[in-house]
Amino acid sequence: MDIVATTGIGPLVVVVLATVTAMLGAIGGLGGAVLLVPALVLLGWSPVDAAPLGMAMVAAGSFAAVPAQARSLTSNLRLGVVLETSASIGAAAGAVASALLAPRVLMMVLGVASIVAALAGGTRTGQRNLPVEGANLAALRDQPGTLASAYVDQRGRVVPYQVRRVRIGMGLGWLAGAIAGMTGTSGGYLKTPIMSEVMHVPVKVAAATTVFMAGVTAAVGLAVYAGQGRVTAAIAPAVLGGLMGGRIGAWLQPHLPAPIVRRALSVVLIVIGIIVMIEA
């Protein structure tokens, strides 16, 4: 395959990297491309060639994780659709604005935003949304006309939650979309903390909802790459890894306690922030 010819690394390495990043993405609510693309660049890929792989991995990871997370009742699809509406408009605006701003400034903003989001989630103690013994899950979740819902924690208890500050969340979602559009990422690592820390959505729900949103964003990005003729067999290992990692992550996430997911997400966000600032 041309992967080996151009970079000297085999498809198996790409499969493994994509599996790990897609798994982290499904658990922590990140697209994952922000981890995979720098790793590929470090291994000898050019950023131009690595970008479609990152996008394909995110689309594949989301494709694998979303049905499983919808069945495990973790993702809030209404919230995802509402927030992604403003984020998509922001992403389109950001893509247009990207030509007007210095890439270095954008990357620094992205890095700082990522670290601030990590500190907001990582330094918070306790749990906002507590399980309610004997609560009726069917009556609490997916109520027409509201974003409030419920999910089941790792011990099988029902955890109801409200979605707060929807307008502020949509405004920040637009901003996250704009930053994502300007920097060519899915912006999942900003959307999850917005839902979790600003809108008070449980972190596991925020993460699963972001995975769905990242899939929509990545599919659009992949369509663009397909239109440019950049979707070739060379991206197949990333797709395969994304499918496997998304499935594993979606299986693991319901079994992990929410505070651990939140802290793990903070660590990954700090790593992302440092990577982005070094790139800048």
Binding site: S62, R71, S72, T85, P144, L243
Partner: protein, 102 residues
Amino acid sequence: MTANPLEPGASPSEPSRRRVNAADIVAAAMAVAVMLVWTDVADMAATVLVALTGALIIWPAGFLAVLIRRWGRQHDWRYVGSAVVLLVVAGLSAFGAIYFAQ
């Protein structure tokens, strides 16, 4: 028979009953095709890989269409509207980017 996970009232015990989904089938097909391309057994497999990748582009549209149908049945018009707007914005973004790229 497995209950539709998108229907209200689905219980968390249902996932264990359904072990295989579309993503697993695509993953299996991908794995076979990658092996064939990698080992230069079949050039046709490359075409299959690209076609399978196409599935990744269209699945969110299908998923949103299912949500629109479900929320329409519930007369949950605000969210039907959001999903339609999202489909239109995503489609326009992709079309616009491809158009300008060419």
